[in-house]
Amino acid sequence: MFISQIFQIFIAFCLFTTLYGKGNPLRSWAEYTYLAAGTAMSVMWAWTYIRNHAVIGLQAGELIWIPAIILGVMMWFRIYPKYSYISRIPIAFTMGIGMGWSIRTNIFTQFIRQINATIVPLFGQGPMWLFERTVIAVGVITMMSFFLYTTEIKGAHQWSATFGEYFMYLAFGAVFAGTFMGRLGLFVGHMQSYMFPVWKQPYTIAIALLVFVAMLALERTGWGEKLSA
């Protein structure tokens, strides 16, 4: 367990050397290790899903899984250019079903519900409510008018579009800040897992320094680029 913990810290800091912007073998090693493990994990999970549904279902006598497995195997023919046409049927089938169930509900969640939530009584709930709801409606309308393509933007449309564009940049400021909070929270949480329990702290600091120095040394000597992938 101890070794695993130390290894985690080491491989994480190796990958952080990406920030320096130059190739080095530590980073390449970490990257390839991750790629190998990540891909292997996807394989295992795909298999588990197939087993828990199709294999167990078949054992219980559910015949519907037989075509599922046949279609799945047909999918593999995509990799032989000569027979890749065989894979078209499972692709058409999964794409078709997927298209069906995604648009059937997206029209409600993304279109109808959103328009409906914009149409609300403005008065009678205080000035703050009136202000916020008006801002939402005006914001949606003016921003959308900025994104119309089949008409020339001029006259009143020009006013609306310009206002919408400014409004959008105001929104971008807020959204950017929120995104930064998220990424920072992730980074802080990650570092926390290497700093607590407290016994990890000396190891973490030592490994961070070690990787940092190694990275600089590799860069200065020119070995970094040479040995990286």
């Binding site: 991750y34 996807s42 109808i112 149409i119 309308i141 008018s145 119309l148 089949t150 971008f172």
Partner: protein, 265 residues
């Protein structure tokens, strides 16, 4: 939710309006795709930015890097393919090397085939089929993170003068945009979701916001299907605006939530 305005026997309650809206897209879409006359589409500023970027790379003698996203066949990726075709043609005409990283998801190998065809076709159309080099369109990986690493590797190694990152990119977009800024490339990106749009607007020299990318793709291709798509989208945008305005007016002037009930689910 407001109570329903109407119900149609045989249709699940509250779902008829969604069904009609979807059918509306189908009807309008097929109608516009069958028309022979090409509709008017505004030339979005992104197109000039793309030509400027390619021109800059050519002047500097550096390659152009153009990617079309890492997902399967989505709305953004298909638009990006049109843009890629034009970038490839311009590059072929001006003898600028073009790099196209491909892959990035389990379905990335499917889109790659089409991308290779498009670039190959563009070189052939420019009369330089022998200049086309498939090694400049590497399949980086089927996994997102190593696709990103490979992409960054290309940026650092080949130091392109322009990076045109269109199509559906997600969290890796920020990574690529900042790295491309570090190597001094003029960066054009496209945002496909809200937080990604805000971040990329800050990080890149030019950004195609929301559906400016499909609009640019349609304008460049002058393909009736893509143009029809933009037309139908515009109709629905105007319709949604009208619904909001009319709904708000009726509700707040008369107290009757007509549109709200029409759209109730």
């Amino acid at each position: 939710m407001a109570e329903l305005l109407f119900e149609i026997p045989g249709i699940e309650s509250g779902r008829a309006v969604g069904l009609f809206l979807i059918m509306g897209v189908f009807i309008l879409g097929i109608y516009y795709m069958r028309r022979k006359k090409l509709p008017y589409i505004r030339r979005v500023a992104a197109i000039d930015a793309i030509y400027e970027a390619v021109g800059r790379a050519t002047e500097m003698g550096r390659p152009v890097l153009c990617s079309y996203g890492r997902g399967g066949f989505g709305y953004a990726v298909i638009a990006a393919m049109s843009i890629l075709g034009h970038v490839a043609k311009t590059c072929a005409e001006t003898d600028t090397r073009l790099l196209v990283p491909t892959g990035g998801s389990h379905t990335g190998y499917l889109t790659r085939e089409l991308a290779v065809d498009i670039v190959k076709g563009a070189y052939a159309m420019a009369g330089k089929p022998d200049v086309f080099n498939e090694d400049d369109m590497p399949f980086l990986s089927g996994e997102q993170y190593s696709f990103t690493a490979g992409y960054i590797g290309m940026l650092v190694r080949d130091r392109p003068g322009a990076v045109i990152m269109t199509g559906g990119h997600s969290s890796e977009a920020m990574n690529i945009a900042e790295m491309s800024n570090l190597v001094g490339a003029l960066t054009i990106t496209s945002g496909t979701y809200v937080s990604n749009m805000a971040a990329l607007a800050c990080a890149s020299d030019y950004i195609m916001l929301m559906d400016e990318q499909p609009a640019a793709g349609a304008y460049l291709s002058q393909d009736i299907e893509q143009l029809a798509t933009i037309q139908v989208i515009d109709i629905y945008k105007v319709m949604s605006l009208a619904l909001i305005v009319v709904g708000l007016l009726i509700l707040n002037l008369t107290g009757n939530n007509f549109i709200g009930r029409l759209l109730a689910t």
